[in-house]
């Protein structure tokens, strides 16, 4: 399955400090999308895929709603397209947009950092960030989300929380906040392999142990919930040991790419932000599929996670002489260790047993690891 991200704009109404996208006022035109489809088919053919899945991406994709409503009818009619998703901060969602997304089967992947959002996502003085009833700026992003809570929770029951050195200290409180909000399974993900110092990594370990303690206590109290990167560590370990890990770290450049508002394809938006690895007629999928296969890194040969870990972000590897970064190696060790601790300490908890079975039945093997907002 070819993973296609469509960056309908690089502009975003929030300014998350960890985001690598340039936040430039570029907006994809309908004709750019139309003209890109033959090139998409050609890329799919060269990557060995016959079907694709689309994620609208940005910037904030709701800022280019016209493009989305232009593209969705085509995507729904295209037999090669097997799914449509939008990765959005949902600050600009309203009833009409929500209705359109639901009626057209567009899945919503919500970028929401929880209680740390007021610090990490300061509101810019823009119309998009105002309360439509008062015309005044919302008093922080949490106020905005509370105002739209009914619409949002009707669209999705999950969210993606980016973990970076700036919000590590609040991981436990953030998880509590999200549970209170009604999100039982927040998808915590480590963002950016290349921004972690040794002190950050040590703090991450301290805080992850605290978060894991809190999570185990909740499971033992019978509360159904999960933390994204612990859930993933458990499943990656299981499948890695019994079946062998997947032959790619993420879709970027191996079985997927991003269509930028300029009409150019890149392996992912992170590559596009630096305008490197343009996927033109010279782009060689086989090289990427071989070179960045997590099974093939010499550096990983002596590692005790070799069988289960997927070695982090391809962009970071390319910037690091085609090797996984030491920082991501350490972060993964810490995360996998805590994931296995959850399994050891919660093996008798019914709610945990049911959750594990549910995830195994719903994820299978084929759907592993294709989405990245690193």
């Amino acid at each position: 399955m070819f993973t296609l991200e469509i960056s309908v704009t690089e502009k975003c109404n929030l300014g998350c400090p960890y985001c690598y996208v340039a936040n430039r006022p570029t907006f994809m035109m309908p004709e750019t999308f139309d003209n890109a489809i033959p090139e998409l088919y050609d890329l799919m053919k060269r990557s060995g895929d016959t079907e694709y899945h689309v994620s609208f991406f940005g910037g904030e994709p709701l800022l280019n709603w016209d493009l989305i409503t232009h593209a969705v009818p085509f995507l729904k009619s295209d037999r090669k397209c097997k799914g449509i998703n939008i990765i959005t901060n949902l600050t600009m969602i309203d009833e009409d947009k929500a209705k359109y997304l639901k009626e057209n089967g567009v899945g919503v992947s919500w970028s929401f950092d929880g209680m740390s959002s007021n610090d990490t996502r300061p509101l810019l003085p823009l119309m998009e960030n105002t309360n439509p009833e008062t015309g005044e700026l919302f008093d922080g992003i949490l106020a905005m989300y509370n105002y739209k809570k009914d619409i949002i929770m009707d669209l999705t029951n999950g969210c993606k929380v980016m973990i970076w050195p700036g919000n590590v200290k609040d991981m436990t409180e953030n998880f509590d906040f999200l549970l209170e909000y009604g999100i039982e399974h927040p998808d915590f993900s480590i963002v950016r392999d290349d921004v972690w110092t040794e002190a950050d990594i040590r703090e991450y370990r301290t805080e992850l142990i605290r978060l894991t303690d809190s999570y185990i206590a909740k499971l033992k109290a019978g509360i159904p919930c999960s933390v994204g990167f612990l859930r993933l560590a458990i499943l990656d370990t299981l499948y890695g040991l019994v079946k062998g890990k997947r032959p790619f770290g993420c879709f970027a450049g191996t079985n997927g790419g991003v269509l930028m508002s300029s009409g150019e394809f890149y392996p992912c938006a992170r590559f596009a932000s630096k305008k490197i690895m343009l996927m033109d007629e010279n782009y060689n999928f086989k090289y990427y599929q071989d070179q960045f296969n997590p099974k093939h890194f010499d550096k990983c040969e002596p590692c005790d996670l070799k069988q289960v870990c997927n070695a982090g972000c391809t962009y970071s590897q390319i910037m690091n002489d085609n090797k996984p970064l030491d920082s991501i190696c350490e972060l993964f060790h810490i995360t996998y260790e805590q994931g296995m601790r959850v399994v050891e300490e919660c093996r008798e908890e019914k709610v945990f047993q049911d959750l594990i079975l549910h995830y195994i039945e719903s994820v299978g093997v084929e759907n592993e690891g294709v989405e990245c907002r690193n």
Binding site: M1, K11, R24, P25, T32, N35, G48, L63, S109, L126, E128, T130, G135, E136, L137, N157, G158, H185, D187, R202, F229, L235, L238, V242, K243, G244, R246, F248, N255, S262, G263, E264, Q289, P302, D304, K306, Q307, E330, I334, Y336, E337, M340, V343, E344, K350, F352, Q353, D354, L355, I356, L357, H358, I360, E361, S362, V365, N367, G369, E371, N374
Partner: protein, 101 residues
């Protein structure tokens, strides 16, 4: 006090000139197949690469990590069996779909 008029991002002109532009995955395992493979993996044979089970860490790391894969597989096997032993309608129901990064 007069209300401030905020501009939309959409109203801000595009200043950047853009140049004109003329899996491989295997089939899904069933939980039953997975169960068999876990049992085989625990014994260190069949489809698992047994040299990595209980493989000791030789890389230099900030911490000394302990990964007891054999114990992990035993735990997972037990967890799956326990959950499957309960009738479906007695299990925790969840509409959350996996989106893995």
């Amino acid at each position: 006090m007069e209300k401030k008029q905020y501009k939309s991002l959409m109203a801000i002109p595009v200043k950047v000139e853009m140049a004109p532009v003329e899996h491989m995955s295997d089939r899904v395992l069933t939980t039953e197949e997975l169960q068999i493979q876990i049992d085989e993996a625990t014994k260190g044979k069949a489809k698992v690469d047994s040299k990595y089970v209980e493989y000791s860490n030789e890389a230099g790391h900030l911490y000394e990590y302990k990964f007891n894969y054999t114990r992990f597989l035993e735990n997972m096997s037990y967890i799956i069996k326990q959950a499957k032993s309960r009738p479906q309608d007695a299990r925790y129901k969840n509409s959350h779909e996996m989106i893995i990064q």
